[in-house]
């Protein structure tokens, strides 16, 4: 059996006394997308940096395509395409020159380089901008170029660290589409983000990272099945009637959320309990399990996307 594209085993990293990673294990197979999810400071960027060979782990090992990143970083980096969190492009150079430089450094010969530049630019809607200086691009266009640089040499492992931060809707859509395409072509993708809905859109495998540890790992459907719980959300015209309040109910103003494993049966029970008070019921909704619920279940804390 061939080695996984990425194998991270027992990686620890601390900055001074602050532990950034506390024993991370992660395996990514070819052709799969792993959404590295977690709030700000969870350790996502540190993990991506270590995998990319930019930082050395204090302990543990990282192998890319079977090559030890710590011992042979240059060999391993042949197989890696990195888009760091901060947009990194040469502002005085054209889009084509930016792509050509990194493709050249990756060893692509002239013919292959030109072809890949055209392909990557087309995939990210940059074809018409190839001659434009990066400094003259809009924020979204620059973000697309940033992602394109990571992909131009067709790496076996693509590391995208918060690729859609600050991106407009079109850019975001194109990046997500491209990520799916890259995985379909056989590359492994580690997609770090704190936007849960992006991972749901990508239908990626998930690695929840929190406080330097992978706290949940699996396919989206698996995690939702194990950790996610449906809920009923009832909104009233006035105060929430006491009849519906149970030990798990969470009241937010005129709305109450009641977790339930069987939403249809639960709704019938609640309406029965309400009795005459049902006249003040404005709406009732079934809230399907989400990644927020998974995060809450495995960490005991609310997932604060805005604070991330």
């Amino acid at each position: 059996m061939s080695a996984p594209t990425l194998s991270v085993v027992g990686v620890h990293k601390a900055y001074g006394g602050i532990v950034a990673l506390a024993g991370v294990d992660l395996t990514v197979e070819p052709g799969t997308i792993v959404g590295l999810l977690g709030p700000n400071g969870a350790g996502k960027t540190t993990l991506v940096s270590i995998v990319a060979g930019l930082r050395r782990p204090d302990a543990g090992s990282v192998h890319v395509g079977g090559i030890d990143v710590t011992r042979e970083p240059r060999r391993a980096q042949r197989a890696i395409g990195l888009a760091p969190q901060e947009t990194g492009v040469y502002l005085p150079l054209s889009v084509r020159d930016n792509l050509s430089f990194f493709a050249g450094l990756a060893g692509l010969r002239r013919g292959a380089r030109l072809a890949r530049i055209e392909e990557t630019a087309a995939a990210l809607g940059l074809t018409a901008l190839l001659h434009r200086r990066a400094g003259e691009l809009s924020g979204g266009e620059r973000r697309r170029l940033h992602a394109a640089i990571a992909l131009v040499h067709q790496p076996a492992l693509v590391l995208l660290d918060e690729p859609t931060v600050g991106a407009d809707v079109q850019t975001r859509t194109e990046i997500l589409e491209l990520v799916r395409g890259v995985a379909a072509a056989g590359s492994a993708v580690v997609y770090s983000t704190h936007y849960l809905h992006e991972i749901e859109e990508l239908d990626a495998d998930i690695a929840f990272i929190d406080r330097g540890r992978i706290v949940a790992r699996g396919a989206l459907s698996e995690l939702l099945g194990v950790h996610g719980t449906s809920a009923l959300e009832l909104t009233f015209t006035g105060p929430v009637p006491g009849a519906v309040l149970g030990p798990d109910a969470v009241v937010l103003g005129r709305t109450v959320r009641i977790p339930t494993g069987d939403p249809a049966h639960g709704a019938a029970q609640v309406l029965t309990r309400l009795g005459d008070a049902s006249s003040t019921l404005e709406s009732i909704e079934i809230v399907r399990p989400s990644l927020e619920a998974v995060f809450l279940s495995v960490t005991g804390r609310e997932y604060a996307e805005d604070a991330a």
Partner: protein, 258 residues
Amino acid sequence: MSSLQRVGVLLRHEVRLAARDPLPAVVLILFPIVTMAFLEPAFKPALVQAGHVDASGAEQVVPGQATMSAFFVVSLVTFGFFSEYTWATWDRLRASQATSFEIVLGKALPRLVMVVLQFCVIFAFGALVFDLVVQGDAVALLPLVLVFSACLVALGIAITALCPTAQQAQACAIVGMVLFGAIGGALVPFDVLPDWARAIAPVTPTYWAMRGFETVILDGEGIGALALPVAVLAAMTVTCAVVALIRLRFDDHKVGWA
């Protein structure tokens, strides 16, 4: 892909970046030409007083201004590194297959060529327009120019290694240019400097460069007489390179231009 090929890619990239903003290279050459034009008459009396009765002033002002303005390359070297932080491309570069040595070489070589060319153009201009006459072997100037240019490039890398911010590096480069230029005898004739300045002048690369130029241009000597200046400049180059080697940490968090 071989290391040589990667260095080639890096060199082409640096040249492309420089071509997008040619002003620094133009300033490097035009600045000394302009200053030579109005400083030449002022240097003649000092040279005559020092015993060079036939001197025109060009013998001091041409190498002096070329040496002074060559110091701009120190600033350009630091800029080459700190721009990577400004554009947030440093990590990308580090995550590429290029080694640290290849990256440094890719940034240093084009600037070394630039400053050597600057010397050639200034001296040619000095000979054609300012009647610079080299009494000794003009070819002997080449190793002196080469080792002095290498020293300045190495100094730029060492300053980059030691300074955490682009502003600090720029300040060091400018202070170095003016201070070393003045004390080393490039800005004003060495003989008119106060005793204390002349005593400390040998710690500056400018002093050894100017001493070498004077030996060939005014004293009519050849390459044999340049052994000491070239050796000292080579030692200074190695010292700067060692400082860079010890202190240049590729994973340091430096601050580029805001």
